[in-house]
């Protein structure tokens, strides 16, 4: 019984980790080895793929571009979502529930629908091929998500906390910034994490709204195939490096996400 119980998670983890292991495996191989033979370990261990990424500006520039718009987007989304979520959690106003639902429906729209109008619009105002264009486009999906997550966390804070602060003489903003925001820090962490992840992995809008200057890593990865045939080792290394920021962020918010689940959000 004890052995069988351990078996299920073991098999599960094996299946989950196998593709990631394979990616890691490939990233340390030469392209010839990948195409030529089936090996569980790199027979000619090489870090050349990684060296290339860190030395070639078209490669590492992709990471920098991606990080820039992801960070802008995350900060913007959370900053906008905080007061909105506060309003939804604390006040009753005409049509509040409908507005909340409408906000969520934005999250459900496929990004492809918006690709063309965004492209036209950003070109017209001169934002095409800038990190701001991608960051703004992603807020359409991330603001509703952040509002939804934050609203859950805020509603779990009793309204009496606000009242106590006012009774103690706090002005609204002093209370909001000094007391309330630190109180829901976990929620802000979770919301920021989800904004970060969406923006980091979103490909279509990021690719459509950029060309050269603000080209994201995902676009770099998909366009590299042509120059000298398929550089699979290089692509695998780029893939590994793409996973790392996500893994890094999830490590910090893992406990908060569990809390978010408990609140019925996330």
């Amino acid at each position: 019984m004890g052995r069988a119980r351990g078996l299920v998670p073991a098999v599960y983890i094996l299946f989950v980790l196998l593709p990631i292991y394979w990616l890691l495996n490939m990233s340390f191989k030469t392209t010839n080895e990948i195409l030529g033979s089936f090996t569980l370990f790199p027979s000619e261990f090489t870090v050349e793929n990684y060296t290339k990424i860190f030395s070639d500006p078209t490669w590492y520039g992709g990471y920098i571009n991606s990080l820039i718009y992801v960070v802008i987007n995350t900060v913007l989304s959370v900053a906008v979502a905080l007061p909105a979520a506060y309003a939804f959690s604390r006040y009753r106003f005409l049509g509040d529930k409908h507005l909340f639902f409408w906000l969520l429906t934005n999250r459900m729209a496929p990004p492809a629908v918006f690709a063309l109008p965004f492209l036209q619009l950003y070109s017209a105002v001169g934002l095409f091929d800038t990190p701001i264009a991608v960051a703004l486009a992603h807020t359409l999906f991330n603001v509703p998500l952040a509002v939804w997550i934050l609203e859950g966390f805020m509603s779990s804070v009793p309204k009496e906390l606000d009242e106590t602060a006012y009774v103690d003489g706090y002005s609204f903003w002093r209370f909001f910034l000094r007391i309330f925001v630190p109180t829901i820090a976990a929620g802000i962490g979770v919301a920021a994490f989800f904004c970060f992840m969406f923006s980091w992995v979103e490909l279509l809008l990021a690719k459509t709204l950029t060309s050269v200057e603000a080209k994201p890593i995902a676009a770099t990865m998909t366009r590299t195939a042509s120059t000298s045939g398929y550089e699979l080792g290089l692509l695998a290394a780029a893939g590994v490096l793409t996973i790392i920021p996500g893994a890094f962020v999830i490590y910090f918010v893992r406990n908060y996400i569990a809390k978010g689940f408990a609140l019925g959000r996330v």
Binding site: P158, E160, L161, E163, T164, A165, Y166, V167, D168, G169, Y170, S171, R174, I179, P182, T183, A185
Partner: protein
């Protein structure tokens, strides 16, 4: 420094939360708002605090109309039933926070925090976060914050309700001492009649958004002016029965006849209600003017020092509360003595007609 509510009412949409109410709270007084949940205690407190604006009427503090003054500009403190503290601040900073906001000098803050912390036995916990404290300590922190501010109005909204029995007893004893030598108005909301009796001071009985009576606690207990006030201020619930007065007798239900009490003798014959507190129905031998009644025991709750018995008489449930442990067998017929002399007689409209000291 008096707090006065003048014809204040609160309406939310079509619902009336507080009916027109006038109250005058004197400086240095301990005022109890007694009522069941949803009676309007919290709403009334929020109006006093200025967290809510009354729909009609005005609120006067120290001779000034403060109806539209924001809560931040009033000098008051509030403690809630839930243990509300700032979770991101240490206990020390929690207590100091109203003083910091008010811009009190650092040395003065430290002196005041140390003083109230000592008073509430929080000194060893000052560096901890509220979440690391027990419920009782958390509520003490909230009380300490209210005291440190030295406000002229302190509102306590069922501060002991969420504490377990032992802590409640402990804090209940401490509370009146904390406010004793402060010249502030204290308003204390509670659902428990026993707490009101323990604290003394003044009591306002609330029922469905109405203050039914306000005055010194003992007076309200001894002479409830209406049936509603008597019901609010009785735990276990007061026994109420329809009666008919006929000469020297009162007829309860159909066949039970009791001698009329001395106080009720002058009343005209007719229909009334009688209210008898549970501790005036006992198995002990009654004094002059008491009547014997017989009923079937429904429930018997025996605690260490008293017996509470629910029994059925003529299809109505009565409650008796007596000192000592008495063997009551559920389902058996039992004889009890009713101290009719101590009963309250109310008119058909619920106004007190006779009885009470």
């Amino acid at each position: 420094m008096t707090l006065e509510l003048r014809q204040v009412s609160k309406r939310v949409g079509a619902d009336v939360h507080i009916h027109e109410t006038s109250l005058m709270l004197e400086p240095g007084s301990f005022n109890i708002l007694l009522g069941t949940t949803l009676a309007g205690k919290t709403t009334l407190m929020k109006l006093m605090a200025g967290l809510d604006r009354p729909s009609t009427g005005s609120i006067w503090f120290d001779g000034q109309n403060v109806t539209g003054v924001s809560v931040q500009k009033r000098n008051l403190s509030m403690v809630y039933q839930q243990f509300i503290n700032y979770p991101n601040l240490s206990v020390y900073e929690n207590i100091a926070s109203p003083l910091r906001v008010a811009g009190v000098a650092r040395r003065e803050i430290d002196a005041r925090v140390q003083e109230v912390a000592e008073l509430l036995r929080l000194t060893p916990m000052l560096k901890r976060r509220p979440s690391e404290l027990s419920g009782g300590q958390q509520q003490r922190t909230a009380l300490a914050r209210a005291l440190a501010k030295e406000s002229s109005l302190i509102l306590l909204d069922e501060p002991l309700a969420n504490l377990d029995y032992k802590l409640r007893e402990e804090l209940r004893d401490e509370l009146p001492k904390l406010f004793a030598d402060r010249n502030c108005i204290v308003a204390y909301a509670t659902t428990e009649a026993s707490e009101a009796l323990l604290f003394g001071g003044n009591t306002a009985t609330l029922h469905e958004g109405r203050v039914t009576q306000f005055g010194p606690t003992s007076t309200i207990y001894r002479r409830p002016n209406t049936l509603t006030s008597a019901r609010v201020f009785s735990d276990p619930p007061i026994n109420v029965a329809r009666i008919r007065k006929a000469g020297d007798e009162i007829v309860v239900g159909e066949r039970v006849r009791w001698p009329v009490g001395r106080a009720a003798r002058h009343l005209a014959d007719g229909d009334y209600s009688i209210g008898i507190r549970p501790h005036h129905i006992t198995p002990h031998r009654g004094n002059e003017g008491s009547a014997t009644i017989e009923g079937r025991v429904l429930v018997a709750e025996l605690s260490g020092s008293e017996s509470v018995v629910h029994f059925d008489m003529d299809g109505q449930t009565w409650v008796s509360q007596s000192q000592g442990i008495h063997p009551f067998e559920v389902g058996s017929l039992t004889r009890l003595q009713v101290d009719v002399e101590r009963g309250f007689i109310f008119s058909a409209d619920g106004d007190l007609m006779a009885g009470g000291d």
